[in-house]
């Protein structure tokens, strides 16, 4: 092997390797810090932290159930709304849209992801929440009011509003990843279906989507990962109530928003430690979800390696 090349490569490798290692170390330190700092809370409340619904900073009794519940429900709600939209956008952009429209449209959708979440939150407070209260909630309670989901008074700030805001915020990532995944589907899949006499709709439904299925699923989970960690916009519209309620009209709270709300003014050690434990739980959930999503997307891209349009 060429000596000169070897030493140059070695330096290059060492430098970039060091940068990569920094991120790993940083992630590890973050994880460790959250774990260590939450020690007091874990020792005090044990597993009861996950199942207790009392969160009382005055009496220093902490349980995370209302926040775990709020995070999971609002994120599922967001998926329920965002997935059909994202899939529609992805299919339109990759299969149907005229060539001229594709780039500007996907650009605009990705731009939506660049809006700061506090701006989306403000829009949520002043436009979306009153809209949902005045126009969406009344028909829901009139026609679907027999379901516990749509009972009780609606003041604008609610689990439902939080879910809708989250849906808007995850549509860009879910739709753009889905679009990329659909574009990796080889052209011969489509040609084969068309040759057998399938219509455009049938081609997409039979030949394209099943092929991209696991990748789309990955995109959805990526969106879910984004939804559970989203803080500012949700905090502003979810109502921040620590009550677990079966109704989507009730105010609720999420793990990320209780941290954002209470961390800066938390002075007692146990309060801080409990917030740290919520942060730790959130990190663990996000890591699991993101790894799962990456594996699914990566599996597909590897099989079809380089098939992007």
């Amino acid at each position: 092997m060429n000596r000169r090349k070897l030493s140059g490569d070695f330096i290059f490798e060492a430098v970039v390797g060091f940068f990569a290692l920094c991120i790993l170390i940083l992630a590890f330190l973050l994880f460790r810090e959250l774990f260590v700092e939450s020690g007091l809370s874990r020792n005090t409340f044990g597993l009861g932290f996950l199942t207790s619904s009392t969160w009382d900073p005055v009496k220093e009794v902490f349980g995370a159930l209302p926040f775990i519940f709020g995070t999971l429900v609002s994120s599922f709600l967001a998926l329920l709304i965002a997935v059909p939209f994202s899939l529609g956008i992805a299919i339109y952009l990759s299969e149907l849209a005229p060539e001229k429209l594709r780039t500007p449209l996907s650009f605009i959708i990705e731009l939506l992801a660049a809006i700061p979440s506090v701006i989306i939150g403000l829009w949520g407070i002043f436009i979306l929440a009153p809209f949902i209260r005045d126009y969406l909630a009344p028909p829901l309670s009139t026609y679907l009011g027999f379901l516990p989901l749509f009972q009780g008074p609606m003041y604008g700030l609610s689990m439902l509003t939080g879910g809708v805001i989250l849906a808007i915020m995850i549509i860009p990532i879910t739709s753009s990843v889905s679009r990329e995944v659909i574009m990796t589907v080889p052209t011969h899949q489509r040609e084969g279906a068309l040759a057998l006499g399938a219509t455009g709709w049938e081609t997409t439904w039979i030949a394209v989507l099943p092929y991209a299925r696991s990748g789309i699923f990955g995109a959805v989970i990526l969106g879910f990962g984004r939804a559970i960690g989203e803080t500012m916009a949700v905090t502003m519209v979810i109502g921040n109530s620590q009550k677990i309620s079966g109704s989507l009209f009730s105010p609720s709270n999420t793990m990320a928003s209780v941290i954002a709300n209470q961390f800066s003014e938390a002075t007692s050690n146990l309060h801080v430690s409990s917030l740290m434990e919520i942060g730790f739980l959130l990190l663990v959930i996000s890591i699991i979800i993101n790894i799962a999503a990456r594996i699914l997307v990566w599996k597909l891209l590897r099989v079809e390696g380089g098939g992007r349009a």
Partner: protein
């Protein structure tokens, strides 16, 4: 010869540079004091910083409004020269911070704000009624307990929409301190704190969050800082004070509450955990208010910075007070200023007083 020209220019630049550097070095070096803490006094402290910089151009006061909790943490770890808190240190916090001084620098009031279409002004409430509303016991505007306090006002039979601060805040501390003082029921069930476990209601983040909830939900009630309510023209209630009068929240009525509490104030280096000016005595005292505090160490470890800090604090509690009213903060009563003088004189470097 071109090269010669360039050389000449270079020499001129270098000479100019040396001369300039000489001039600059004659000026006193710039010193920055860092502070961190409560968001409530931020507009006042930042006004002070810019005014003080006009008097002493080489001194920068850099205040980060990161919240009282974070301010207390930073002063504990000595990453800042001064902290600021809306609530006095608790016994526990005070015990952890040996040699800390608490210097009240201003006074804030909290108003009970409401949105009642057609009733913009003049609603009167008493402490126990406010407590019962926030406990969820009084749920309708035409509840007999509200109606009996307000002869001449016709209340709608609507549900009361309760709103509160979702973020930990000094405003919540003052409000729940008041409710704990006037309502035994509140004291035993909820207590006082910067974040509490609210039995009912919607939570908004910050004064603006609560104000947003109020403006968008007719028949709602909430609590916000006096300054914020005045600036945003939000309706607020007259509150019944200890003497039995219904008092409008203003700078004067809040100052009157503070003046009434002065005789009972502890020394600056003692614990202030039980200090409270809620439900204060006095005919004209508005009952929901609080001091907001600077936190500094008695024993300073840097002579220059310590001296500058002591001078700044001295200025803030004297000359600085004249900027309070315009920003809707309550100026300190004279008795509190003289108490603060004693406290600031305790600041020392190796036993040498700094002022």
């Amino acid at each position: 010869m071109n090269r010669l020209k360039i050389l000449n220019i270079l020499i001129i630049f270098i000479l100019a540079g040396v001369l300039l550097a000489g001039c600059v070095s004659k000026q006193p070096t710039e010193i920055t004091l860092n502070g961190a803490g409560a968001t409530f006094p931020y507009p006042l402290i930042s006004k002070w910083s810019s005014e003080y910089n006009k008097i002493k151009p080489n001194i920068q006061i850099n205040y980060q409004s990161v919240g009282s909790g974070a301010g207390i943490k930073q002063i504990t770890e000595k990453t800042v020269e001064f902290g600021a808190s809306d609530a006095p240190l608790t016994e526990k916090e005070f015990a952890n911070l040996s040699g800390i001084l608490q210097i009240p620098e201003s006074i804030g009031a909290v108003v009970v704000a409401y949105n009642l279409p057609g009733i913009e002004k003049g609603v009167k409430l008493s402490g126990d009624v406010v407590a019962d509303i926030f406990l969820g016991k009084i749920t309708k505007w035409n509840d007999p307990n509200i109606v009996s306090l307000n002869p001449g006002i016709t209340f709608p039979g609507k549900d009361i929409i309760v709103t509160e601060r979702s973020d930990g805040s000094g405003t919540t501390f003052v409000f729940t301190d008041y409710l704990s003082t006037v309502s035994p029921d509140w004291k035993s069930k909820i207590g006082k704190g910067k974040s509490v476990s609210w039995p009912v209601g919607l939570g908004g983040k910050g004064n603006e969050g609560v104000a947003g909830l109020l403006s968008q939900n007719p028949y709602s009630i909430g609590y916000i800082e006096l300054a914020y309510a005045k600036n945003q023209n939000i309706s607020y209630a007259y509150i019944k004070n200890k003497a039995g009068h219904f008092i409008e929240p203003t700078l004067e009525t809040t100052a009157s509450a503070a003046a009434g509490a002065v005789s009972a104030l502890p020394a600056g280096d003692a614990s202030w955990s039980s200090v409270s000016i809620v439900d204060a005595a006095g005919d004209n005292s508005y009952p929901i208010g609080s001091f907001t505090y600077f936190l500094v160490y008695k024993d300073q470890t840097d002579q220059t910075k310590g001296k500058i800090l002591a001078e700044y604090l001295w200025w803030a509690v004297h000359d600085g007070q004249k900027y309070s009213s315009d920003l809707l903060y309550v100026p300190l009563p004279n008795d509190v200023i003289s108490l603060n003088e004693k406290t600031i004189r305790l600041m020392n470097y190796n036993g040498q007083p700094l002022i």
